[in-house]
C-alpha cells in the first residue's frame, strides 16, 4: 500500500503539473486504446515509465544487496562496494560505445554484456577475498575496491576513446532515469522479476548460509550450486539495473539493513520487504533528484550516495562497537 502511494505521489510531482487522476486516466485510456489528453500523454509516455524504472531499479539493487549480504554472511556486502556495479558499468559502456548507432541492440545487449562482466567481477572478488568458512569484511571490501577501480579505469578509457559519444554515455553511467521508456522498463522487468522469484524460492537456503558453508552442507544443502545460483541472480539484477540506469550506489547496502532491523534476518520476510522498500526509496530519491534544483536534474546516484555514505559510516561504527554481535568479522 505504501509503495502504491509513493508511486502515485512520484508520478504526479514534476515539471509538468500532473495530478493522480491524469495517471489513472492515462492508465485506463491506454488499456482501452482511447485518445489521451496532453497531460495524460506526459503521464503515460514520460512519467509512468520513469517511476516504474526507478522502482524496478531500487527493488533489484536492494534484492542484490540482501542476497550478497546473505551469501557472504557479511552485512557490508553491496553490489557497489564489492565492485559488481563497476564491472557491470564497464560491460554496459562497452556495448554503448560499440553499438552507439544501434540503440535497439544496446537496449538488449547492454544488460547481457554487463552481466558477463559483473559475474566476472564477483568471481574474481570472491576468489581474492575468500577465507576458510566465510568472506571477511576487510578482504571483501579491499578486493572489491581494487577490482572495481580497475574496471572504473577501463570504463574511463572507453569513454575517452568514444570521443563525441562520451558525454551521452557518461550521463547514462552516472545514474538516472531520464532515459526511461517503456522499452527500458520491459527489459529491466524481464531481468528483475524472474530474479525476485528465484531469490524468494531460495530464501530458506540463504538462512542456512548463516550457519557457515560447512554448517549448511551438514544439513544437506548443496552449498556450491546454490551459492553460484544466488550470486548469479544478484549479479544479473545488478547488471540489468546498471545498464538501464547507470551506477547507483548504497541502495543495496542501506535498504536491506533497514529491512533487517524491521523484520529480523529470516530471508523469507526480509527479501520481500527489502524489494518493496528499495522500490519506494528509489522512486523518492528520483523524485528528489528531478525536483530539488529543477529544471536541472541531479543524477540520482548523487542523492543515494549523499544519504548512503553517512549511513555506511554509522553502520561501520555500530558494527565495530557491537563486535561479533552484528556479524562483522574484520
Amino acid at each position: 500500500m505504501a509503495l502504491a502511494a509513493v508511486l502515485l505521489l512520484a508520478g504526479a510531482v514534476g515539471s509538468a503539473d500532473l495530478e493522480p487522476r491524469h495517471l489513472l486516466g492515462a492508465l485506463a485510456k491506454s488499456a482501452r486504446g482511447d485518445e489521451l489528453t496532453p497531460l495524460e500523454t506526459i503521464a503515460w509516455r514520460i512519467r509512468l515509465p520513469r517511476v516504474l524504472l526507478a522502482g524496478l531499479t531500487g527493488a533489484g539493487l536492494s534484492l542484490a544487496g540482501a542476497v550478497f549480504q546473505g551469501v557472504f554472511r557479511n552485512p557490508l556486502a553491496d553490489p557497489y562496494l564489492i565492485g559488481t556495479a563497476s564491472g557491470a558499468g564497464f560491460g554496459a559502456v562497452l556495448v554503448f560505445t560499440l553499438a552507439g548507432s544501434f540503440p535497439a541492440l544496446a537496449a538488449v545487449g547492454a544488460p547481457v554484456v554487463a552481466f558477463v562482466f559483473a559475474l566476472l567481477t564477483v568471481l574474481l572478488v570472491t576468489l581474492l577475498a575468500s577465507d576458510v568458512g566465510g568472506v571477511p569484511t576487510v578482504r571483501l571490501i579491499l578486493a572489491g575496491v581494487v577490482v572495481g577501480a580497475v574496471f572504473t579505469a577501463a570504463t574511463s578509457f572507453l569513454l575517452v576513446a568514444a570521443r563525441e559519444q562520451s558525454a551521452g554515455i557518461l550521463s547514462r553511467l552516472l545514474g538516472g532515469f531520464g532515459f526511461a521508456s517503456w522499452r527500458s522498463v520491459a527489459v529491466l522487468a524481464a531481468f528483475t522479476l524472474p530474479a525476485l522469484l528465484v531469490a524468494r524460492a531460495l530464501a530458506r537456503a540463504l538462512d542456512l548460509f548463516q550457519l557457515g558453508e560447512r554448517g549448511a552442507a551438514l544439513l544437506g544443502l548443496p552449498v556450491e550450486g546454490v551459492k553460484l545460483l544466488l550470486l548469479a541472480v544478484a549479479t544479473l539484477v545488478t547488471a540489468a539495473a546498471v545498464s538501464v540506469a547507470g551506477i547507483i550506489g548504497f541502495v543495496g547496502l542501506m535498504v536491506p539493513h533497514a529491512a533487517r532491523l524491521a523484520t529480523g534476518p529470516a530471508h523469507a520476510r526480509l527479501l520481500p520487504l527489502a524489494v518493496v522498500w528499495g522500490a519506494a526509496f528509489m522512486v523518492l530519491a528520483d523524485l528528489l533528484a528531478r525536483t530539488a534544483i529543477a529544471p536541472v536534474e541531479v543524477p540520482v546516484g548523487i542523492v543515494t550516495a549523499l544519504t548512503g555514505g553517512p549511513f555506511f559510516l554509522w553502520l561501520l561504527r555500530r558494527s565495530r562497537r557491537a563486535g561479533g554481535a552484528a556479524g562483522v568479522e574484520a
Partner: protein, 289 residues
C-alpha cells in the same frame, strides 16, 4: 553409565515423544560403520603423505553412546568426518544400514546423521527457535516450506534440550553453555538416527559438560546412536557405554570404559604417566607428575 549422573535442568519426561513426531514409522537403519578405512590429507610439499587413519573399523549401533578418545592427531576428527561424509576414504567402506554412505542423497544423509561441529557457527540475529528450526532443512528440502510436523519436531527438540525458556532470544546473546545446547537442539530437531558430536564439551564448565552429555544419553535412550569425540577421559568414562581409543591412526583399544582406560595402555598411547583409580562409578584417571 551410572544412574547417579545429574540431569541438570532437563526433565526426564522431556524426551522426544515415543515414535517421534515425524519419523515414527521409519525403520531405524542397523548401524553406522566404517570398515577398514584409510584416510589421508594432502601432504605439504616435500613431505611424505602419512595416513590419518590406517585400516580402522568402527561400528555405531542404535541406542548406544560411544566415546572416541585418543591423543591429538590420532585420527578422531578424521574418523568423525568419514562417518558424516565430510571426507571420503581412500580405501575401505563407510556404510549406513549396510548401504554405502556415498549412495545417499545430501538431504537424505542429513535426515539420518546429524553433526554437532567443534566450534559451530551460530546464525547471528536469528532467535533460538529459528536456529533450531534450521535443523528441519533436510526434511523440508531446498524449495519446500515447513509444515506442522516440522513445527512439532522443533517444539519437541526445544523441550527435550531445556532450551524452551530462551527460545525467543537471539542466539548471539546466549552464554557459551546455552549456545551449545541450542546447537544440540538443532541436531535433535533433525531427528537423526545417529548423532555425531565433535568435542561437544569444549569450553564448557563442569555443569554444562554434564548437562550436555546427559542430553546425549537421553537421545540414546530414545534409540539414537551417539558418537562423541571427547578429550576428558573421566567425562568419557561416565558418559559412554563404550570407548574407542585411537592411536596414530589405528584402534589401540575398544570396549567398556574399564577395559579401555588401563594405566599401561593410556601411558603408552598418550606418552604420559597416569594412575587409574577404581571407583564404583567406573575408572578415574589421575595424571602423575
Amino acid at each position: 553409565m551410572s544412574g547417579a549422573a545429574p540431569r541438570g535442568r532437563v526433565a526426564p519426561g522431556a524426551l522426544r515423544p515415543a515414535g517421534d513426531a515425524a519419523g515414527g514409522s521409519r525403520p531405524r537403519p542397523g548401524a553406522l560403520e566404517a570398515v577398514d578405512v584409510v584416510a589421508a590429507y594432502p601432504a605439504a610439499p616435500g613431505e611424505a603423505r602419512r595416513p590419518a587413519l590406517d585400516g580402522v573399523s568402527f561400528r555405531l549401533g542404535p541406542g548406544e553412546v560411544v566415546g572416541l578418545v585418543g591423543p591429538n592427531g590420532s585420527g578422531k576428527t578424521t574418523l568423525l568426518r568419514l562417518l558424516s561424509r565430510q571426507l571420503r576414504p581412500l580405501a575401505g567402506r563407510v556404510l549406513l544400514g549396510g548401504r554405502p554412505l556415498a549412495s545417499f542423497g545430501r538431504f537424505e544423509l542429513a535426515r539420518h546423521v546429524a553433526v554437532v561441529a567443534q566450534e559451530p557457527e551460530v546464525p547471528v540475529g536469528f532467535t533460538v527457535r529459528e536456529a533450531v528450526a534450521m535443523g528441519r532443512a533436510p526434511h523440508v528440502g531446498l524449495l519446500g516450506s515447513p509444515g506442522p510436523e516440522d513445527e512439532r519436531a522443533v517444539e519437541a527438540a526445544l523441550a527435550a534440550t531445556g532450551t524452551l525458556p530462551f527460545a525467543e532470544r537471539r542466539v548471539e546473546t546466549l552464554s557459551g553453555g546455552e549456545r551449545q545446547r541450542a546447537v544440540f537442539a538443532r541436531a535433535v530437531a533433525q531427528q537423526p538416527d545417529f548423532l555425531v558430536l565433535d568435542e561437544p564439551t569444549n569450553h564448557l564448565d563442569l555443569r554444562y559438560q554434564v548437562e550436555l552429555l546427559a542430553l546425549a544419553r537421553e537421545q540414546a535412550a530414545a534409540g539414537v546412536g551417539v558418537l562423541a569425540v571427547l578429550h576428558d577421559l573421566n567425562l568419557a568414562a561416565r558418559a559412554c557405554d563404550r570407548l574407542v581409543l585411537l592411536s596414530r591412526g589405528k584402534v589401540a583399544a575398544e570396549g567398556s570404559p574399564s577395559e579401555v582406560l588401563r594405566p599401561d595402555l593410556l601411558s603408552a598411547t598418550y606418552g604420559a604417566a597416569v594412575t587409574v583409580l577404581r571407583s564404583e562409578d567406573g575408572p578415574v584417571i589421575v595424571p602423575r607428575f
